[in-house]
Amino acid sequence: MSDASLITRDLTIRFGGHVAVNGVSCEFRPGELTVIVGPNGAGKTTYFNMISGQLTPTAGRVEKDGTDITRLAPSARARMGLGRAFQLTNLFPRLTVLENIRLAVQAQTGEGWGFFRPVSRLTALEDKARHYLEATRLAKVADQPAAELPHGDQRKLEVALLMAMEPDIYMFDEPTAGMSLDHAPDVLNLIAEIKKDKTKTVLLVEHKMDVVRALADRIIVLHNGELIADGDPGEVMSSRVVREVYLGQAEGAA
């Protein structure tokens, strides 16, 4: 168990009387891409929010590399190497693509408090930012404001921002949401690239089953805020309890 980079222990959060996430204990290891699935409202994003710090749990702990981070601010977690992308595009809209990425690079270097030397002369920052622009094939739109990019490029920028933070734990919340089938692979290939680096731990919330099959090393299933299945993708997807959850929802919706 000591090889886990991220652990949640009995993680629970209540909103009034509603228990959104209930006692979820789980370990995530470097070199493993875990996909979190579950019907809408299962608590996947809430679970993510507690890990990355947007929400503080009612009970339970979050540990990163053995350190309790349950009550740390999101910025402190980010500086510790926990990087999270969001379900809805969540960028700095009026800043350029390059500026967006440079911000992420700069956050990790401690240059964020520099107040005298012009950004343009900090070439190390710029070079690193450009490196991630190349890696995500966004170099051509470097000087455009993020808000003016097509949706697919915005999603790519979202991933680029995360990569530029150089975290050791990546958290993606439906990275291909709203993307057309032609463009989704761009983002998925980037995630596959990240996965090749065996020192990285990747968590991914995803609905699309082909994505899950292509990328997952392991699947965990949340349902009504509880962890109901955890294991090898093939096994989990064919298990009865998971089929019931999904079919049950399909019937409920019909």
Binding site: S52, P74, F86, L91, Q106, F115, F116, V119
Partner: protein, 353 residues
């Protein structure tokens, strides 16, 4: 020429005009206007760091300006007109302003923007009341008139010729008034330049990131409250220094010149007219509004004279109605330049001319 270059050129021309103002416009009033423009450029630019760059709405900016002014004024009034009291007073004003900014910032920059704005409004009101009430210390409603270091006395001769008379260059006397003006100019120019450096540096981008998307800035590793508090303190420090300089220039400090909400409204108008989030806009807004405040009446007087034969028009152009016309100009400006003059121009790829 791109819009951005155009605006920068205009601002550099404004600074050039201010540099040569005592020689270009040789009357007492012009030099008052020039000094006021210098100080308001700095004051408005420091406010732009808050509202334009970081998205913090504060109504306490005039309070920090007043703290600098009162700090310097009280020291000069109560201790004496030397350089020591001037430095001490300025430093005290600066320290109090930054400390209060830090306190307000840490206690309340976590709350929603509207509550923060209310808190700053309350703080500024309290400070205005205090300044009026503590009349033994601050001069109350009447304010304080005091002497500044001898170098800035009008009678001081910076340079004398063989007969002991003050030397003139291009008919301008090299006296203490000139020294005082160049002190105002130099401090203002340096502060403005420092702020330009700051917004072009990494911290400048972080501030904009906080304005654009606070949660995400926090999410990628920036302590948003720390940055906000820091910029609030920096803006307070600059405003306080501007206040100290103004106190030395005017040789008078009172609620009307250093703490009144009229000044806060002027700052807001200037930053909106000039365009938020560029600093260059602050310089343009401050220049235009100060010029309008001083010269619109004169201009209207001339216009009213010119149309004196026509019915109705002279009445409309009566100099007493200058505020009405200023208001109309302001509405038109906001209508045609919704992002301010600099904001609108810099967003364009190119402008004619």
């Amino acid at each position: 020429m791109t819009g951005s270059k155009f605006i920068k050129t205009v601002v550099l021309l404004i600074w050039a005009a201010l540099l040569f103002a005592p020689f270009l416009f040789q009357d007492v009033r012009s030099i008052e206007v020039a000094a006021r423009i210098c100080i308001f450029i700095v004051l408005v630019a420091s406010y732009d760091l808050l509202i334009g760059y970081t998205g913090i709405v504060s109504f306490a900016h005039v309070m920090f300006f007043g703290m600098g002014a009162y700090g310097t004024a009280i020291a000069l009034d109560h201790i004496g007109n030397g350089w020591g009291p001037l430095a001490l007073g300025t430093l005290c004003g600066l320290v109090v302003a930054v400390a209060l900014a830090a306190l307000i910032g840490l206690l309340s920059l976590r709350v929603k923007a509207i509550f923060f704005a209310m808190i700053t409004l309350a703080a500024a009101s309290v400070m205005l009341v205090l300044a009026v009430q503590l009349s033994g210390f601050t001069g109350g409603e009447d304010g304080m008139t005091y002497r500044t270091p001898d170098l800035f006395k009008t009678a001081t001769k910076l340079w004398t010729d063989a007969d002991g008379k003050v030397v003139r260059i291009a008919d301008v006397k090299l006296n203490g008034k000139l020294a005082a003006y160049y002190m105002v100019f130099a401090v203002s120019a340096v502060l403005f330049w420092l702020m330009l450096r700051m917004v072009a540096s990494p911290v400048g981008t972080v501030l904009q990131a906080i304005r654009e998307n606070e949660a995400r800035a926090e999410g990628i590793g920036y302590r948003v409250v720390a940055y906000r508090t820091a910029v609030f303190c920096i803006a307070a420090a600059v405003a306080s220094l501007a206040g100290s300089v103004y106190a030395v220039w005017l040789k008078y400090t009172g609620p009307e010149t250093a703490l009144s909400f009229d000044i806060m409204i002027d700052i807001l108008l200037m930053v909106v007219i000039g365009g938020m989030g560029t600093l260059w806009g602050a310089a343009i807004g401050a220049t235009l509004l100060v010029l309008a405040q001083y010269y619109l009446r004169d201009l209207m007087g001339v216009a009213a004279e010119a149309v004196s034969g026509v019915p109705l028009l002279p009445d409309l152009l009566n100099p007493d109605r200058w505020l009405l016309w200023l208001g109309i100009c302001f509405i038109l400006l906001v209508y045609f330049f919704p992002r301010g003059i600099a904001g609108t121009a810099m967003a364009r790829r190119s402008v004619k001319g």
